[in-house]
Symmetry: C2
Subunit: 350 residues, 2 copies
C-alpha cells in the first residue's frame, strides 16, 4: 500500500506525499512505490515521450549536453516521483506494458496490454530502474525501464498491433478534439438542425480529425480554414472538407469573410494566440465555438464575445471525452483522407 | 457619414481609422464624429465610469495629481477617439442620454432614454466637449459632456427611473452571469433532470445573482460556497441558497468536500486564480462548469479536466446573453435576498 494516505482515491490523492491535500498534478512529490491500491494498475515502462517544451528547456539549460540532460531527468523523477519539469510545468506521456491490474481497477486493462497514457506525466507516479542507460539525452524519446502507476480515473489507450506506434501516438495525442466535435455536432443533429461546421486550422492533426468527425456526425457542410496555399492543396486532396478556404486566423475580418455565411459550429485548432475574435465573428448567432488551442486566452474569448454582442456558446476544449481514443483511431482506420494526411505528416518528419 | 469606410458594419468596422481591418476594440484610433450611420445611435454623455485597473494605473503614474490625470484622459480620448487606456488595455462604461437614433438601429432606443453602455469603452467612439471641467481627476467617476456612438450590435441598458443609478450599475455590471446560469439550468430542466447547482463565490455580486437565477430557473438544489464565516452568515440570512458552505476555492479537495455530492452545474464567480481544479472536481460526470471569473486560466481548465478524466462541459462565461440586463434587473426587483445583499454592499462602500 502507498504510504501517503490511508484511503484510496480515484484521482490519486492517496499518492500525494507533499504538499498534502493537493491534486497529483499540483503536488511536489508523489509516492511511486510499486505496490498497488485496489483500483490501480502498474505499467512496465518502455518509453517516455517528454513534452516538447520540457525537453527544449532542459536542452537549452545544459547546452545540449546529453549526459547532463539525462542526469537532470533522473533527478527530477527521483525527487518528485513523476517526470514533472518544475520550470515548464509540463510532462509528456509514456508507453509501456500492463504488469499488474488491481482487483477494483475500472480501466478494463489486461496484463500484457501495450498502452499509452493519455494523462500527463505530471500526475503519473513513476520510478525508473535503469538509470536511463539506453538514452543518450539527445531526443524527447526516452527509452526507459521502470514502472508507472495508473489511478482509477487515469486515461489510457491500448495500442493496436497493426499500426506503427508513432502513428497511433500522433492520433491519440489530439483525440479529444474529434470526440468533442462529434458530440457537439450530434447535439445539433438531434435537434433537427444539422450544422455548418468551420474548422480553423483544418489541415493540422486535431483539425483534420475534427473535420472528419464533423462530417461523420452529420454536419450539413464542412469548411476547413488553413493559412497557406500548400496546406489548402493538401486538405483539398484529402477530401475532408466540403470547402477549403484561406485566411489568417488572427485577422477577424478576413477570417469571417473567408468562412462566408457564419458557421453554426466553429472549431479552433490553431496554436497561435489571437484567434478568439475571428472565431466568434465567424460563428452564427446562437452558434457554438469550441476552443481546442492551448493558446486561447480566456479573457479575450469572454470579452470578445461581449464586445461583439455575440450570443455564442463557447466551450473549453476538454481533452477527455469517454471513448475519445477509440473514436479517433477508428477515424484513422476508416477515413482515407485522415490516414493520408497523417501518413504524409509522419513521412515529412523523417 | 464616418470617414473611415464606405460600408457600414454592425460591429463598427466602418469607424476604425487605424489600423484598417481590425475590430474596434483592437483599433488604435476610431472615428468618433457625431454624424450617424443608419444603424447607429448617438448618446449625450453624462458620466464615464473608468475601469478600476485603468484609473489605478493613471493615478499611480501621475502620483495622484488630478490635473495631470485629467489631462491624460483628455489626450487619450482625443488621440484614440475612445477611452482606451493603452497601458492596461481596459476602458470602462458610460452613462448618458440618447440624443439621436439612426433609422436602421436595432437597439430599440428612443431619444431621451437614460442608458448605460454594457460594452467596453475600449470599443465605443467618444468625443468630449467640456475638457472634463467638472472632474477633479480624483475618482473613477468622471462627470463629462460630449457624445458617444453605439453600433448596431452594441449592448446597452435603459436605466430605470425608480432605482439609484449606482444600484442599477452594480447589477448591470455582472448581468451576463445570471442570464447564462439560467439558460444552462433551463436546459437541464427541459431534459427532465433539474440540476443541483453550486455557485463558487455565491456571496458576491455575480454569485448571488447566479444563485437566484438558478433557483428561479428550476434548480433542484442550490449550494453557495463562500470563503469566510461572515460572508456565509450574510448569504444564509439572504436565503438565496438551499445550503451555504465554507471552502477556499483554490483547494480542490476542500472545495469538493464542502460541496459534497458533486453538482450537476458549477458556476465559478470568484476572481482569484487557481479555482479550475476544484470546480471540476466538485462537478458530477456529465455535468457543466461555467467559468465567469476573469482569473480563469484556459489551459488550467483544459488540462485539469483531462488530468481528472472528468467528462464535464466547460463554458467560457460570455458576458452577453440576449435579455441579460432585463433579467438581472428583474431579479433585483423581485428577489428580497438579492436586493438585501446589493443594498448592504452599496451601503458598505459609502
Amino acid at each position: 500500500m502507498g504510504a501517503a494516505s490511508t484511503t484510496p482515491s480515484p484521482v490519486g490523492l492517496h499518492r500525494v506525499v507533499a504538499p498534502v491535500g493537493v491534486l497529483p498534478q499540483a503536488a511536489d512529490r508523489l509516492d511511486a512505490s510499486p505496490e498497488l491500491w485496489p483500483d490501480e494498475v502498474r505499467v512496465s515502462v518502455e518509453r517516455l515521450n517528454l513534452d516538447a517544451a520540457s525537453y527544449r528547456q532542459l536542452h537549452a539549460k545544459h547546452h545540449g549536453d546529453g549526459d547532463a540532460i539525462r542526469a537532470e531527468v533522473l533527478e527530477i523523477v527521483g525527487n518528485r516521483g513523476k517526470m514533472h519539469n518544475p520550470v515548464t510545468g509540463s510532462g509528456g506521456m509514456l508507453i509501456g506494458t500492463v504488469a499488474e491490474v488491481g482487483p477494483a481497477s475500472p480501466l478494463g486493462l489486461t496484463v500484457g496490454d501495450r498502452i499509452a497514457t493519455l494523462v500527463s506525466l505530471t500526475l503519473t507516479p513513476l520510478q525508473l530502474t535503469d538509470a536511463l542507460a539506453s538514452w543518450d539525452g539527445r531526443s524527447e524519446q526516452v527509452p526507459a525501464a521502470g514502472h508507472a502507476i495508473l489511478f482509477g480515473r487515469s486515461i489510457v489507450a491500448v495500442l493496436p498491433d497493426d499500426l506503427p506506434a508513432e502513428l497511433s501516438l500522433a492520433v491519440l495525442d489530439v483525440c479529444g478534439a474529434p470526440a468533442l466535435t462529434a458530440r457537439v455536432v450530434r447535439q445539433y443533429v438531434e435537434r433537427g438542425t444539422p450544422p455548418t461546421v468551420a474548422v480553423i486550422g483544418g489541415g493540422g492533426k486535431s483539425g483534420s480529425l475534427s473535420l472528419a468527425a464533423a462530417r461523420r456526425s452529420g454536419a450539413k457542410h464542412t469548411i476547413g480554414v488553413v493559412p497557406a496555399p500548400a496546406e489548402a492543396e493538401l486538405l483539398t486532396r484529402a477530401g475532408l472538407a466540403d470547402a477549403v478556404v484561406l485566411a489568417d486566423a488572427r485577422d477577424p475580418v478576413a477570417l469571417a469573410a473567408a468562412v462566408g455565411t457564419p458557421a453554426d459550429v466553429t472549431v479552433v485548432c490553431v496554436d497561435v494566440p489571437g484567434c478568439e475574435g475571428g472565431a466568434i465573428l465567424a460563428t452564427a448567432n446562437g452558434g457554438t465555438v469550441i476552443f481546442f488551442s492551448m493558446a486561447t486566452s480566456f479573457s479575450a474569448a469572454a470579452l470578445g464575445a461581449e464586445g461583439l454582442a455575440a450570443d455564442v456558446t463557447m466551450l473549453v476544449g476538454n481533452g477527455y471525452v469517454p471513448g475519445h481514443a477509440e473514436y479517433a483511431m477508428d477515424l484513422l482506420r476508416t477515413d482515407q483522407g485522415v490516414a493520408g494526411l497523417f501518413g504524409a505528416r509522419l513521412a515529412a518528419e523523417h
